[in-house]
């Protein structure tokens, strides 16, 4: 495999993990909750592409809509589900003063609930669906063949990061979210509405999850009701490597994790490849032993109250 190809692959998986980690990091910032169900939002976005049925063949539903509508449709579905989990599961717990670990457990419950529903409706058999067929091509750049879907993943990720960063810096709601992530009670004492700030963070995380749904399915074409779990773990580990509570940290952490696992996949001797994840997460443990505050956190920015 060519080195450029390898780097593109690594950056593509890194981008995907970065988006997942950022979605988890946004919610963690305002709520101090690790939302394990984030992976299942991604799964919901993927399943929304096809007709809900137990039949073997997955006939496309939203997946058959014209391209702009398809994207808008998946964005709406995932964002609405994200908002619904906040409104109907997490809000009540938060109002009763549940701590971070209670909230984490409840997010496991939400995660299993979503998975069970999908299992019930679609059965547990993996299905395949094809969207954005044009993306499956390879393109040749300077004589190197790379997957178009990987290039698109990287570009979409950069655009989303730029857009989100602009939103968080320029809009009042974005500034409120950043303030709430730093000192939630103080933000409230200045009139920031807690419910709104948290719902907004969930909404933004839903948008990121929807983007991952589409990029993931465009690349793999496979639907599986457990597909969100490894993604959520990767995103969670990414936020930890990056330093909990720091959004740039989450992005860099997620990216490093994805890139590292792709590089290991290619560079490990063939007989060790099945153990790739053992290497990746072993590396994570080593990193955290030396920098428990996270790789990309400077000073006390990662310190929480």
């Amino acid at each position: 495999m060519n080195i450029v190809q390898l780097l593109v692959d690594a950056a593509s998986l890194g981008s995907q993990y970065a988006l997942v980690a950022l979605g988890i990091g946004l919610v963690f910032g305002v709520m101090r909750m690790i939302n394990f169900a984030h992976g299942d939002l991604i799964m919901i976005g993927a399943y929304a592409l096809v007709v809900p049925t137990a039949a073997d063949l997955a006939a496309p539903l939203i997946g058959a809509w014209p391209f702009p509508l398809l994207i808008a449709g998946i964005l709406c579905v995932v964002t609405l589900v994200a908002l619904a989990t906040e409104r109907f599961a997490f809000r009540a717990l938060r109002k009763r003063g549940a701590d971070g670990s209670t909230l984490l457990i409840s997010s496991f419950a939400v995660s299993y609930l979503i998975q069970s529903l999908v299992l019930f409706i679609h059965t547990g058999r993996p299905k395949s669906v094809s969207i954005f067929g044009a993306l499956t091509q390879q393109v040749t750049i300077h004589g190197v063949r790379v997957g178009l879907v990987d290039i698109v993943t990287i570009i979409v990720t950069i655009l989303l990061l730029l857009g989100l960063s602009l939103y968080l810096r320029r809009s009042r709601a974005g500034i409120e979210i950043r303030a709430a992530a730093e000192d939630f009670t103080m933000a409230r004492m200045l009139g920031v509405r807690a419910d709104r700030a948290i719902a907004l963070a969930f909404g933004l995380s839903g948008i990121l999850a929807a983007a991952v749904s589409l990029l993931y399915v465009a690349k793999t074409g496979v639907l599986d009701f457990r597909m969100g779990v490894p993604l959520a773990i990767a995103g969670f580990v990414g936020t930890v490597i990056g330093g909990m509570g720091s959004l740039p940290g989450a992005v860099l952490g997620g990216f490093s994790l994805g890139a590292a696992s792709m590089l290991l996949q290619a560079l490990l001797p063939a007989e060790l490849r099945p153990a790739r994840d053992a290497f990746v997460y072993g590396l994570v443990i080593v990193v955290l032993l030396f920098r428990p505050q996270g790789l990309f956190v400077t000073g006390n920015a990662g310190e929480r109250i």
């Binding site: 500034i175 303030a179 730093e182």
Partner: protein
């Protein structure tokens, strides 16, 4: 009466931090709360701001009970707290710290007059407008914390130990600012450790110790009362 606190009791877990406290503040006044460390002064401020929930008693603002309301509702009703330790958002710029507080007015546009006012009041914030608030000095952070509270256009400004950690010269300036705020029509309830400073600032002063009200009265009367100092440091309640 702008604010009246009636038989307030606040507990952390089982231990009461405030046993029983009644106080009031009329519009236009500066009232000080003094007392040694651990007296319950900050707890009282947080209870008024809606951050800690009282176990007993009532808190009324403009004649309506605000007990149990969430902090954002109380802030929007016209009570702003400059908390102990300032709690500025260090990873936000000075401007962004002020923007956070503008939501109560409906946004930066609607809060324009408040922005102009605080930047005139604290010119150093104008100089550091786009710098990170975490990089301000302690005195500058205190100014930012007060400025931020003023963006909410409070009718009642609560200030908890504004001189904490400041050099005396800077502390004097902060107190000068608080006086000027009153002249502009803001009512103030100020917590201060130093009885001397408190009595010099306030129209009326409450002395708190171990979660109980020990003494209260017009500052000039208390200043002349030999028992005041005695009570502050642990004497009995006046007979």
């Amino acid at each position: 009466m702008l604010l009246s606190v009636d038989s307030l009791q606040v507990r952390y877990g089982k231990a009461p931090a405030i046993h029983e406290l009644s106080l009031c503040v009329s519009a236009g006044e500066i009232v000080c709360l003094v007392g040694p460390n651990g007296a319950g002064k900050s707890t009282c401020m947080l209870a008024i701001a809606g951050v800690v929930e009282p176990a007993h008693g009532d808190i009324q603002f403009e004649g309506r009970s605000i007990r149990g309301l969430p902090p954002e509702t109380i802030a929007r009703a016209g009570i702003s707290l400059v908390p102990e330790g300032r709690r500025i958002f260090g990873r936000l710029t000075v401007r962004e710290n002020l923007v956070v507080a503008s939501g109560a007015q409906g946004g930066v546009g609607q809060a324009k007059a408040q922005f102009d006012r605080v930047l005139a009041l604290f010119p150093v914030l104008q100089e550091r407008y786009n710098g990170y608030a975490g990089q301000l000095s302690g005195g500058e952070q205190q100014q930012l914390a007060i400025a931020r509270a003023l963006i909410c256009k409070p009718k009642l400004l609560l200030v908890d130990e504004p001189s904490l950690g400041l050099a005396p010269l800077f502390a004097d300036r902060v107190f000068q600012t608080l006086r000027s705020l009153r002249e502009d029509g803001t009512t103030l309830l100020v917590v201060e450790q130093s009885a001397r400073r408190a009595l010099a600032l306030a129209d009326r002063t409450y002395l708190l110790r171990s979660g109980r009200l020990i003494l209260d009265g017009p500052s000039n009367v208390l200043a002349a009362d030999p028992e005041f100092e005695h009570a502050y440091f642990g004497g009995a309640r006046r007979p």
